[in-house]
């Protein structure tokens, strides 16, 4: 990511992803709430897989929340359930005060772990996909797509197809496609999992910038402890499957921050605290891996 992206973002502030601030919104307002959420999958040969929960979780409007946990512990399941992509077996989910049931409510955007770019569409058509489906008028689509393309550093690739892009660039296309919809809650499932360590750091900075600019609530799922420690206001630690939230850690970072906070003393403290909590769970998960799929 070059400096020019930052400049441009600054220059375009107020015309980009940002929405009108809601009058009377206070910072502690609960944006999404999960109560007693459990998810059990039907397993092979008649059995069942208890993947998640019970989980209780409140996301405050505008906060940056991360979830860490050993692989296979139910993180993606948590995201699917919160987004309305799959129904919880038990419990209730509220988004902006309304029950999430069976369908994805408008206002939630999701960036998936896997590459979800459409190989048959160009970069700009990929990014415009959701807007066009929603019937946004053409001029507005153009404006938002151009802004997102600039912000994500995809200027030279507007007309390219995903096959011509690297994995990191494809993930940026998917992030841009989510952002142009101006979601109020952004869910990201290990979005940088496939990237190299340096690119991850830079993408993390971009994500922070986006978060500040849009004022959206962010829930980031990751298995990288340093990533969680660096980006979040608050971190939830999940147990081995069935995933439950076993700790809640506040970082107390200032809102204006970037990857350089890794040099701070408390960064090391947070990371090692996370590892202390997760080590046992990871051992459990690894030991169990023989029996799970």
């Amino acid at each position: 990511m070059s400096g020019s992206v930052v400049d441009m973002a600054a220059a375009q502030r107020g015309r980009g992803f940002a929405r009108e601030p809601k009058p009377g919104g206070d910072m502690a307002e609960v944006h999404a709430e999960l109560t007693g959420v459990k998810r059990v999958y039907p397993g092979a040969d008649g059995g069942s897989v208890h993947a998640l929960g019970p989980v209780d979780l409140k996301l405050a409007r505008g906060e940056f929340y991360s979830v860490v946990g050993p692989s296979g512990c139910g993180k993606s399941t948590l995201l699917d359930v919160l987004a309305g992509l799959s129904a919880p077996t038990e419990g209730s989910i509220l988004f902006e005060g309304r029950e999430v049931a069976g369908r994805v409510p408008p206002g939630i955007g999701v960036v998936f772990q896997e590459d979800a770019s459409f190989p048959w569409l160009t970069v700009q058509d990929n990014i415009a996909f959701g807007l066009r489906r929603a019937g946004t008028d053409a001029a507005e689509v153009d404006r938002r797509v151009s802004y997102a393309i600039g912000f994500m550093g995809l200027k030279d690739f507007r007309k390219a197809y995903p096959a011509q892009l690297s994995g990191g660039m494809r993930q940026r296309v998917c992030i841009a496609r989510t952002l142009v919809m101006q979601p109020r809650l952004i869910l990201l499932d290990e979005p940088f999992g496939a990237l190299d360590a340096q690119t991850r750091l830079l993408m993390g900075d971009e994500l922070l910038k986006l978060w500040r600019e849009t004022g959206a609530t962010v829930m980031l799922i990751t298995h990288a402890l340093d990533e969680a420690a660096m980006l979040s206001d608050r971190i939830g630690v999940m147990s081995a499957r069935p995933g439950r939230l076993i700790a809640d850690i506040r970082t107390e970072w200032p809102r204006e921050r970037d990857s350089r906070i890794a040099a701070e003393e408390s960064f090391g403290a947070i990371t090692s605290r996370l590892w202390g909590l997760l080590r046992d769970e990871t051992v459990k998960a690894a030991g169990m891996s023989g029996s799970s799929r």
Binding site: R103, V104, W120, F129
Partner: protein, 249 residues
């Protein structure tokens, strides 16, 4: 790729010239085969005289009907089976061994049922092509990444728009394979059926010329079919390439 195209053209030209030479020098007897140049010459005359236009259009019409119904029918049946896993598992062994059944043996039966008209011919072409389309449709639908379906739901698409905007383009590579097989099989089915038992069409005309020792007409018509099939294939090949090239495949 460019180089391969050149070499391929040269290979084909070389092969035709070789045949020409072998026929002219009598290595291949005139009773067996006439030189390609004479085939082309005769074909030109036949086409100009318009004597075979009726047969040609009839065959092309039959192929077109068989092809379109195989593609549409195969797509619809494939999609339905894909959404009914239990039925699909039950029918799978039948689909997998389907092409081992010698269809043309059924053709006389169909003639007995439908009479000596276009219906059994088209039906053979259809039966031959439809299963290739069914199998490839299911294959394509199987391979749609789950994350794309989730993306459709995040964007609030209903089942129909998901099918049209996500599933169809995502399954396109396998659908192309099905379409190409369906066109090949419709040609094979229709012309073979005409050849076996019919009173008109290109297959019939070749059989008729053969039985009447009219080698010139026979080879001219064979050349016509070979050229026609090659052109149709090349057309689909280019179309597929166009679409798939962007996707880096």
């Amino acid at each position: 790729m460019k180089r391969a195209t050149w070499i391929r053209t040269l290979v084909v030209i070389g092969f035709v010239l070789l045949l020409e030479g072998l026929c002219r020098w009598g290595v291949i007897g005139r009773m067996t085969m006439i030189p390609p140049s004479e085939m082309a010459d005769q074909l030109w005359k036949l086409l100009q005289s318009g004597r075979y236009n009726g047969h040609i259009f009839e065959t092309l019409g039959n192929v077109a009907v068989a092809f379109v119904s195989a593609v549409v029918g195969g797509f619809v049946i494939g999609s339905i089976l894909h959404s009914l896993p239990r039925a699909r598992r039950a029918i799978d062994p039948f689909l997998a061994t389907y092409y081992a059944i010698p269809f043309f043996a059924f053709y006389p039966l169909l003639v007995v049922i439908f009479g000596l008209n276009a219906a059994p011919i088209i039906l053979i072409g259809f039966l031959f092509g439809v299963v290739a389309m069914i199998i490839n449709t299911m294959n394509g639908l199987d391979r749609i990444p789950r994350v794309l379906i989730k993306t459709a739901r995040v964007n609030g698409l209903g089942p129909l728009r998901t099918a049209w905007l996500i599933k169809l383009p995502s399954a396109a590579p396998q659908l192309f394979t099905g379409i190409k097989l369906a066109i090949a099989y419709s040609f094979i089915g229709v012309i073979a059926a005409e050849f076996i038992m019919s009173t008109s069409g290109l297959g019939y005309s070749i059989a008729y010329a053969f039985n009447n020792f009219d080698n010139r007409t026979m080879y001219a018509l064979m050349l016509f079919i070979i050229t026609l099939v090659t052109i149709v294939n090349a057309f689909f090949h280019v179309w597929e390439r166009r679409i798939m090239a962007r996707r880096g495949q």
